[in-house]
Amino acid sequence: MNENALTINDLKKTYKSGTVALQGVSLTIPKGDFFALLGPNGAGKTTIIGIVTGLVNKSSGTVEVFGHDIEKDTEKAKTFIGVVGQEINFNPFERPLSIIVNQAGYYGIPRNIAVPRAEQLLKDLGLYEKRNQRAMELSGGMKRRLMIARALIHEPQFLILDEPTAGVDVELRRSMWEYLKTLTAKGVTILLTTHYLEEAEQLCKHVAIINKGAIVAKGTMEEILALHDDTAESDGYRAGKLEEVFIKLTKE
């Protein structure tokens, strides 16, 4: 199997409205990595994720998941990916257990395997007691965890998390990160976008910073943090190192 979980070459996307979302992005994520894709709102992070997962059509460029081209070998490439989108996207009238078991079905996993696996995921993510409640009755944090459980039901080797902790309280965020760390320990590659930069700083091995559809910096976390100018004068508010670098690279 390819040593890279994700290989993106010269990826471009222009929406019908004329908005240029990506202007030639190239990126590789090594297998087993915990990778942060950071950028301000509208930088192109969600567009990249949309293209990789098959929810957005690219204008040009190539994307490979574990060596499988997403256009030529779509079905194979998709079997590796689990995705937690930015927006809640399950049927609110369905029950958590059915949502996850149905998702397993779309990957060809029979119910006799899917049900116990889904129950275990619900236990791991603290949702087991809510498994037969309507999804609309879950709290915001529970909905996020349900989306993580759904993304993991087919045991993907590449998990994509698009701002999974947006609107989630501190305690819950910490428990989610702990859970995700156990996944990387098992060899799952994680691509994360988040606005909580201090968490990305602690969790991720590699980082790419995107601004206006172009990668402005990429490398190991140490390499990115090394861009920090310790002698620079503060304007009164002192943020974390990654945040300072981020602001320096993405400001107008």
Partner: protein, 258 residues
């Protein structure tokens, strides 16, 4: 995707839809049954008895196949159009399928099968209700079965095109109201095309519902305004065209992806 996985994926889409259809049965099964009772009562029993025979059968016998077909096609269409549109527009849970390795043709097959199941079940219910008014003869059961399958499939496919392409809630109500309903009422459910002036007769011949109703009526009563072979040919051609349109829309993501 191996064939057993494809089957599981298809079964999952279909099962989910059937569970939904039965869960909300007052919305999915009852309306057509109630409407049909009113049609049987007003057009069949009250007005129909004054109209005399049509090709040797009473008016109520003449309209039963058309009314069953009306229930089948509207339910098959509405089911796929509304289910797909809701998944695409309101909860956006269509993403669950789009990110999965399920091939486009399996998505089409799953949704269409769901629409067919609802259409056929409602059609059977309407036929059962008709027994209380007049028991229709069944001369060619195979033809009835064939037209039931073809009609539910064509309109489930049509509903899917509508559901994929609709950009607002109006988009899935406009087609049934302004296209489907006139086609149904002008498709020979309540009259024989032989009784129409020549110009209207020509218009009727380009209405697909005309072929459905007549083929289906032939299965019950043994006569039709048009040859059954031609009806089957027209319907098969429509099926192929609609499958191709659906496949193209889902494969390219037109109306689904940005």
């Amino acid at each position: 995707m191996p064939i057993e996985k494809i089957w599981i994926s298809f079964y999952t889409i279909l099962r989910k839809d059937i569970v939904r259809v039965f869960r909300i049965w007052p919305q999915t099964f009852l309306p057509s049954v109630v409407t049909s009772v009113l049609y049987f009562l007003v057009f069949g029993t009250i007005i129909g008895t004054r109209l005399g025979d049509f090709n040797g059968v009473s008016y109520i016998h003449f309209i039963i196949p058309g009314l069953v077909m009306l229930a089948v096609v509207t339910n098959a269409f509405t089911n796929t159009a509304s289910t797909f549109f809701q998944a695409k527009f309101f909860s956006r849970n269509i993403d669950e399928l789009l990110v999965s390795p399920t091939p486009p043709w399996v998505i089409i097959a799953g949704y269409v099968a769901g629409g067919m199941v609802r259409g056929i079940l409602v059609g059977i219910l309407v036929l059962l209700v008709s027994v209380f008014f007049a028991f229709p003869p069944i001369l060619h059961p195979f033809i009835i079965f064939l037209f039931l399958i073809l009609s539910s499939m064509i309109f489930a496919l049509g509903g899917l095109v509508n559901g994929i392409y609709a950009k607002s809630f109006d988009g899935i109500t406009i087609i049934p109201t302004f296209v489907l309903t006139p086609l149904i009422y002008l498709g020979g459910v309540f009259y024989s095309v032989a009784s129409l002036p020549p110009l209207f007769k020509e218009f009727t011949l380009i209405n697909p519902i005309f072929y459905l109703v007549n083929g289906f009526r032939y299965g019950f009563l043994g006569f039709s305004d048009v040859s059954v072979g031609l009806s089957i040919g027209v319907l098969l051609a429509l099926t192929v065209i609609l499958i191709a349109i659906n496949w193209y829309l889902i494969k390219t993501g037109l109306g689904l992806k940005q």
